[in-house]
């Protein structure tokens, strides 16, 4: 993480969650740039814009109006230039069935939204660090599966 900035994108319809997310990254010592979108439709529009830098990591809420996280995930994995973005499912629910299904569909991380800010900061840091290991160590990305 010594050089360059890590681009992070969050798709979440809950304004408070977006705010906490940004604040958590402000407190993490890793150099990051955080963008947010409000739902799945906005997400897909954003990712197909020609003027953006694609994120290194996408945090995806499952339960969103208009287009939910699961549909976004399936769609992303079918688009060649988007399918390699690391996807973190960022959700309040954490049933084993949900978790396993998102992994099968190609998600890399399942992160249950923590209740307190400190835990959020720590888990986000863990996600970023692990992703960085996969980015820099030439490891097989298909094996990047993490449930927190």
């Amino acid at each position: 993480m010594n050089n360059g900035q890590m681009h992070i994108l969050l798709a979440d319809d809950d304004e408070d969650d977006r705010l906490f997310f940004r604040e958590a990254f402000d407190e993490i010592k890793i150099n990051t740039k955080v963008e947010t979108v409000n739902d799945g439709v906005e997400l897909m529009d954003y990712l197909t814009r020609p003027d953006i830098t694609l994120p290194h990591i996408l945090f995806l809420d499952l339960n969103m109006p208009r287009k939910n996280g699961m549909d976004c995930l399936r769609e992303l994995k079918r688009i060649d230039y988007l399918k390699d973005i690391a996807v973190v499912i960022y959700s309040t629910s954490a049933s084993d069935v949900d978790i396993e299904e998102t992994f099968v569909q190609g998600a890399n991380v399942y992160l249950k939204k923590p209740n307190d800010f400190n835990t959020l900061r720590k888990t986000l840091e863990a996600v970023i660090t692990t992703n960085w290991q996969y980015q820099t160590s030439g490891l097989n990305r298909d094996n990047f599966i993490l449930s927190l």
């Binding site: 050089n3 396993e100 099968v104 094996n143």
Partner: protein
């Protein structure tokens, strides 16, 4: 190499997949090169300390990936012997540069090797535990769960389902 030639730079190859440039390089060239190499997951290393950190990583990865079975020698002894520094020095340097300890890096790599072996569907968990020097299958399963949040069996099921989406178990 292709990227180096594109920038018309001459180079000599060293061990560990290192490359040394035979000429000086302009700031702009370095930036272009760094960006191009970044796409391949290759980093440009400038300081002697980061070279040493990279050597620590390479030595660990080599140890875990080269042979069929991990040698039983302690990795800390092996590192300090091979790189000619005390383990304490290497260990501090590593934390400074990577925000993680050598121990954590070893666990991370071992679990990753375990994942690779699991995805071949050729080995039992017991065999994998033996190859990676775990004292028991339970020890491997616990460390796997700590690292990834899921069990080796769930991991295997997910990977197999990804490969054959139609098959229902």
């Amino acid at each position: 190499m292709e990227q180096l030639e594109k920038e018309q730079l001459t180079y000599s190859s060293l061990s560990f997949g290192e490359v040394e440039l035979n000429e000086t390089i302009s700031g702009d060239q370095l930036k272009t090169l760094a960006a191009n190499l970044g796409n391949y997951g290759i980093e440009i290393i400038e300081s002697p300390k980061s070279i040493l950190v990279q050597k620590i990583k390479d030595t660990i990865i080599e140890m875990i990936y080269m042979d069929e079975k991990l040698p039983t020698i302690k990795i800390s002894d092996y590192l300090s012997e091979k790189l000619n520094y005390s383990y304490g020095y290497l260990s501090n340097l590593f934390v400074e540069a990577t925000y993680t300890s050598i121990e954590n890096f070893i666990i991370f790599q071992k679990i990753n090797k375990a994942k690779e072996l699991i995805t071949t569907n050729e080995f039992t968990i017991t065999e994998i535990a033996y190859r990676l020097n775990y004292s028991s299958t339970a020890h491997l399963c616990n460390q796997f769960k700590n690292e990834t949040g899921i069990t080796p069996t769930t991991f295997q099921r997910i990977i197999n389902k990804r490969r054959n989406p139609e098959e229902v178990e």
